[in-house]
Symmetry: C2
């Protein structure tokens, strides 16, 4: 795994890795193989991290339960990534062949279901409130995926529409982790609420950074080509900014490329150029910073040690390069 700064959760993250591994044992070797491949394909463990940071911030004691819920959320997240790749026809995921490319659509689909089941099985050991938060985030994921498909290649998607999508597709499961961590740690109602909101705003910042990296990221560090969102027809915050701020002719050109089902490499490169020249990356980075700031404001009342870690995690999300 890539270098990660010290957030005081290294030991617990190690336990999450162990739990992830043991949870995927199954009598059917291929299922374990596909699920393990997907879980181990370079995920950044953002959701377990936010869960554990929250848990520690409220002074949580029952580490085992926190590790369980962190594991459950990562399993569910990984299952949803596999199904996403089926939807997007993604060949690469974090620099490796996607599960669908490597194992075929059908087996990958079922491995995704297996990851969901295992996630809910482990998550179900906690309280109903946590199950509800997690299941609700999953329903949101499904809704987000349907909406994303609906708006595919539609350059008229508004900023509000985009934020709604980002919330459903990314932010809500990160918020669920933050909230669940605080709940398992027996934080006060106030703390649970603040950390949930911390996760929500951080999750949106995370998605925006994802969008930015798809335009100006380093392909080697990303493990995928830039312009993948354009290729797949996903409308990102950057294309929205470019559509709102570019010259009339470049807006029209961008819109006509975004609308195409199939795009040539030249068209993808041209879109990236238009987006870059419109100032969309800088505007988007400002948006991400604004959400990051909202996240920071949620944690001002925690003790210094934990506040610093939660703030450090915001910077980590904002400054990531992959």
């Amino acid at each position: 795994m890539a270098y990660q700064p010290d957030f005081g959760i290294e030991e617990e993250l190690g336990l999450v890795e162990k739990k992830l591994e043991s949870s995927l044992e199954s009598e059917v070797k291929r299922l374990t193989e596909i699920a393990t491949y997907s879980v181990n394909s370079g995920g950044k463990r953002i959701r377990p991290m936010v869960t554990l940071l929250s848990f520690k911030a409220v002074g949580g004691k029952d580490v085992e339960k926190a590790v369980d819920i962190a594991t459950a959320i990562e399993l569910i997240h990984t299952g949803s990534l596999i199904h996403d790749d089926i939807n997007d026809g993604g060949d690469l995921r974090r620099g490796q062949a996607s599960a669908i490319k490597k194992f075929g659509l059908m087996d990958a689909l079922i491995a995704g279901d297996f990851l969901f089941s295992k996630g809910f099985e482990i998550g179900g050991q906690t309280t109903y409130e946590i199950v509800q938060v997690t299941a609700d985030a999953c329903s949101s994921l499904a809704a987000g995926e349907i909406l994303q498909r609906k708006f595919r290649g539609d350059p008229s998607l508004t900023m509000d529409g985009y934020l709604d999508l980002a919330e459903r597709k990314t932010s809500r499961l990160i918020a669920a982790g933050a909230r669940a961590g605080a709940l398992v740690g027996e934080g006060t109602d106030e703390q649970v609420k603040s950390l949930g909101e911390y996760g929500r705003t951080l999750g949106i910042a995370f998605q925006i950074v994802d969008d930015i990296l798809d335009v100006i990221g380093d392909e080697e560090k990303l493990g995928k080509r830039v312009g993948t969102d354009i290729k797949d027809g996903n409308i990102t915050l950057l294309s929205i900014h470019a559509m709102n701020n570019g010259s009339k002719s470049s807006r029209e050109e961008l819109a006509s490329i975004l609308r195409k089902q199939e795009k040539t490499e030249d068209e993808i490169q041209r879109s990236l150029q238009i987006i870059r020249e419109s100032g969309a990356p800088e505007r988007s980075l400002q948006d991400a910073s604004n959400y990051a700031q909202m996240a920071r404001e949620q944690v001002s009342s925690f003790d210094e040690e934990h506040r610093d870690r939660l703030l450090g995690f915001v910077d980590y999300i904002l400054n990531r390069v992959s």
Copy 2:
């Protein structure tokens, strides 16, 4: 819905229908539409029925919880059917266009995930033991689906291999319903165990009857063509019996057809003829009867009223025509 005999659970089944409907509400209309279409496409509600029968047999009082778990299991079952259809490329499901045919693979896939999430959300309101039983049945479903694909078109599948598949793909979720119903109803350990085993053996009988109907069923009542299993390459109990008992030449002919990826209509009809002439339907019916008898033996110690209903339900499963 088709006529159903009186098992003393009509009111609760009505509540399950209401709960199914309300659980599928979502802000994203299309998701609700696909999920509702799938849930309402003529399912026999076998899993809710067995859950409620078990619940009542142990004298359960908390009807709301029993309705919840019955609903949860039906939601999960429906989600798995959608994903099955993606795997099988099934165009028809219970006489209607399958969700994948009607709404497209991608949206149907996500609607399946949505049904899983909702199922686990509702199921998560109960105890951990119930969540575990249900999640375990789901993992088994996934394992069964992978194994089924592995043995697709493989006429050397053994009887043991078949029973393992039937257990994973069908029986374990029915057993989970029976067990969960007894748990929610606060039955004794003995009752929970007996009813779980009742569900398990009944589930295998159910699968065998499914196999039989695919060879000698009434297409109109079935709502699909007979020979679908042969077309899809699924090795059924009937093809195993035919492979074990037919003449050498007919066995070879059947094996060579089963192995083909694509089969002509003539080849499907010829397979059906070989299977029918081998006596496989009668042998399979005997097997189903044996499992039904095992189910009956599990419930001998219940009071007359509930025993009669549980026995009546066995007959209902055995004598079904669709």
